[in-house]
């Protein structure tokens, strides 16, 4: 490593899952590392669960409301909290994030499907068709390049899954078994699987699989097995679900420094094009700075481009902030003919992967289907049903109980998560408005492509067909009202795309800036395309891979992969 002319070997901006994993690996290998985190440290889990319990609206951020942090390091909770470039509902970006130590994994669901081999090769495989988006590209790495790092990330996070169900899905083999056996499917999952497995829709066969999850199915890494507390979003009250704070703590234990409530507002560029000095503001508006031989930006796919745009860095391609993506999500509701007992277990334990890939992707987007265990809670509150039964049907006592039991226990929600395509016009820019520290807020433009909307249409038809197969009644399909409407999936991706061509991308295949040799960017911002899986495992795998490259650049000879 170089002589200590800078304060640290590595300065990492953002103490979420990506930044924390990089910090842990490098600190463990002997590097001097500091993590700068704009947010605060969360209180103990029972306090978070208690805050959620009494929150008037049960949104992902409701458990984390903290007035000063929300002003100084705002955590948007959805469309209403953003600076949106356009007011139309179908042009709003809808996913939020947590600026807290540990990041948004505090409130993630925990699902960790891998991307498929084809997801890395979209242009080669499906490009050229009339309806295929021109902006779809190949990644500069393949599934095989990332596969060992997927295994590494699964070990670090503690992923539970079924080898039998997931090995070689769409020609995407696993070289190592899951660290833990699968999270058990729910009673509802198994009942639905029995009804639909083997049946086909649009030529593709239904097969319900348990969803791999960074959620313990046994004691792992000092954390307990899942007890099915059902509030993974916004918090696992017992720490059975992995979150980024696991690796923040490991990094600190390995010697990394953690500076919280430090909102970065500048990154200096040296005459030779390198970057070393990070400037920040504390919540007391006190400026500070810290320098490192290598700088790693590990904020999310909105905050990372925001910082780069403020600092005017890494943008010779003009791609910083562009290609903002998410997954389009939509739910359909129905009543099963039998009691399936929702509101127990993790909110979702199984899904259908059949529609993630196939020749159809020349024409429309692939998607995942999730079977959910949370009844109709996203559509209407349990209170609404009670109000209706008492005020309209005038039910009380045993009659009320019986009616509630009969209807709620049959509630089913199916949902889809549809691939979004990169688009130069979907972007993060700097707003003229500022946050509580006078740092510009991000301003977002987002409108899904026709390719994605066609995928959404096929996905919602699929949900409808599954309800038909299981004999559901009282089906509520939001497509009836507005086929183009969608929800956010909480999967903020794109905006600093990875690529071989410096004129078309922000970072290279190792997450290193094309423009600045000692600047790395980790997180889902580097995804050139996104497929349809939840992104956290892929971003963790990429971060661990980048940590090795940072280490090499620092001169660290050997970095050790660790097992809990």
């Amino acid at each position: 490593m170089s002589p200590a002319k800078n304060d640290f070997d590595v300065v990492i901006v953002g103490a979420g899952v990506a930044g924390a994993m990089v910090a842990y690996r490098l600190a463990k290998a002997g590097a001097r590392v500091v993590m700068l985190e704009a947010g605060i440290r969360n209180p103990a889990r029972p306090q978070i669960a208690g805050a959620y319990a009494i929150a008037p609206i049960k949104s992902p951020h409701s458990a984390y409301v903290q007035i000063e942090a929300d002003a100084k390091a705002p955590s948007p909770d959805g469309a209403a909290d953003y600076e949106q470039a356009f007011p139309e509902a179908d042009r709003q970006y809808k996913s939020g994030y947590e600026r807290r130590t540990g990041g948004s994994t505090w409130h993630w669901l925990g699902h960790t499907p891998r991307m498929l081999r084809s997801d890395f090769e979209m242009k080669s495989r499906y490009g050229g068709a009339k309806d295929f988006p021109l902006a779809m590209v190949d990644w500069p790495i393949t599934y095989d390049d990332l596969e060992p790092w997927y295994c590494d990330a699964e070990r670090e996070m503690g992923v539970a899954g079924s080898d039998e169900e997931w090995n070689d899905l769409f020609d995407s083999p696993r070289s190592q078994p899951f660290p833990m056996s699968m999270i058990w499917p729910s009673y509802s999952d198994m009942w639905i699987a029995e009804k639909i497995n083997g049946k086909k829709f649009e030529g593709l066969e239904y097969r319900v699989r348990s969803t791999p999850s960074a959620r313990n199915s046994s004691l792992y890494d000092g954390r307990p097995p899942c007890a099915g507390n059902s509030i993974c979003v916004p918090v696992c009250p017992i720490g059975a679900k992995y979150d980024g704070y696991v690796h923040v703590k490991k990094a600190v234990d390995a010697g990394a420094a953690l500076w919280e409530q430090c909102a970065v507002n500048g990154i200096d560029k040296d005459a030779d094009g390198s970057v070393h000095t990070i400037r920040f503001l504390t919540y007391g508006n006190v400026p500070g700075k810290v320098s490192g031989d290598i700088v790693v930006i590990a904020a999310n796919a909105i905050e990372t481009p925001k910082l780069l745009l403020i600092a005017k860095l890494a943008n010779s391609s003009g791609q910083v902030g562009c290609n903002l993506m998410d997954h389009l999500s939509k739910s359909t509701y129905g009543l099963a003919p039998e009691k399936l007992f929702p509101f127990r277990g993790p909110p979702s334990t199984s899904g259908i992967e059949s529609f993630r890939d196939g020749p159809f992707r020349s024409n429309w987007a692939g998607f995942r289907v999730s079977l959910n265990n949370d009844g109709w809670s996203r559509k209407s509150s349990p209170q609404a049903q009670i109000i209706q039964l008492v005020t309209e049907k005038k039910l009380i006592g045993a009659e009320l109980q019986a009616e509630l039991f009969e209807s709620v226990t049959r509630q089913v929600r199916l949902s889809c998560s549809v691939e979004v395509t990169p688009d130069h016009n979907n972007k993060v820019e700097l707003s003229n408005n500022t946050d509580g520290l006078k740092i510009p807020k991000p301003k977002l433009t987002f409108s899904p492509s026709d390719y994605s909307l066609r995928g959404l249409a096929h996905a919602t038809k699929t949900l409808r067909d599954i309800f038909r197969c299981i004999g559901a009644t009282n089906i509520i399909d939001p497509n009836d009202a507005d086929p183009r409407a969608f929800d956010g999936a909480g999967h903020i991706m794109g905006t600093c795309r990875m690529g071989k061509d410096p004129s078309q991308s922000v970072v290279d295949a190792h997450c290193r800036s094309h423009d600045h040799h000692n600047l790395f960017i980790v997180g889902s911002s580097v995804f050139p395309t996104v497929g349809s899986p939840n992104p956290t495992l892929t971003l963790a795998a990429l971060a661990l891979r980048a940590a090795q490259d940072v280490g090499k650049q620092l001169g660290i000879k050997k970095q050790r992969q660790t097992k809990p």
Partner: protein
């Protein structure tokens, strides 16, 4: 006063073993809410009923059927079932806003609705790994 409130609550919820400490908290929350005048009238009517003689039918006839009292009846049930107060209930027709006022975490985790549907309060399963694979242990008969 609390005895009448508890007895009325048992009829409205259909649950016999209600916690009297929770009952005091819920009564106090109602007493400081816009539902207070109707609560007084409901308790007065309930006090005048002949206990033991098909009490549910009497409560229905003398209290639940009265349009101006029904929102408060619903509010009492909402408190026991979900620990929430919903001021919009007093609107005509009642608006099912998502904006409910909760009390304490302990009240939230004591909501009866979850047990009634064979589930558990969100955040407090009290169960073992994988229990969601089976029909609930506490499935109502």
């Amino acid at each position: 006063m609390i005895d009448d409130f508890m007895a009325l609550s048992r009829v409205l919820t259909g649950v016999e073993d209600l916690d009297v400490n929770l009952g005091r908290q819920y009564r106090d929350r109602l007493a400081s809410s816009p539902f207070q005048p109707q609560l007084d009238e409901i308790l007065e009517r309930f006090h005048g009923l002949k206990k033991g003689e098909n009490l549910v039918a009497q409560v229905k006839a003398k209290i639940v059927e009265v349009d101006r009292l029904r929102p408060t009846v619903c509010q009492i049930i909402l408190l026991w079932y979900t620990s929430t107060v919903q001021d919009n209930l007093r609107m005509e027709p009642p608006a099912a806003s998502l904006n409910f006022r909760y009390g304490t975490p302990e009240e939230y985790f004591s909501g009866l609705a979850w047990k009634i549907i064979g589930a558990h309060p969100p955040g407090l399963s009290g169960g073992y790994f994988g229990h969601w694979r089976y029909r609930p242990d506490n499935e109502p008969k």
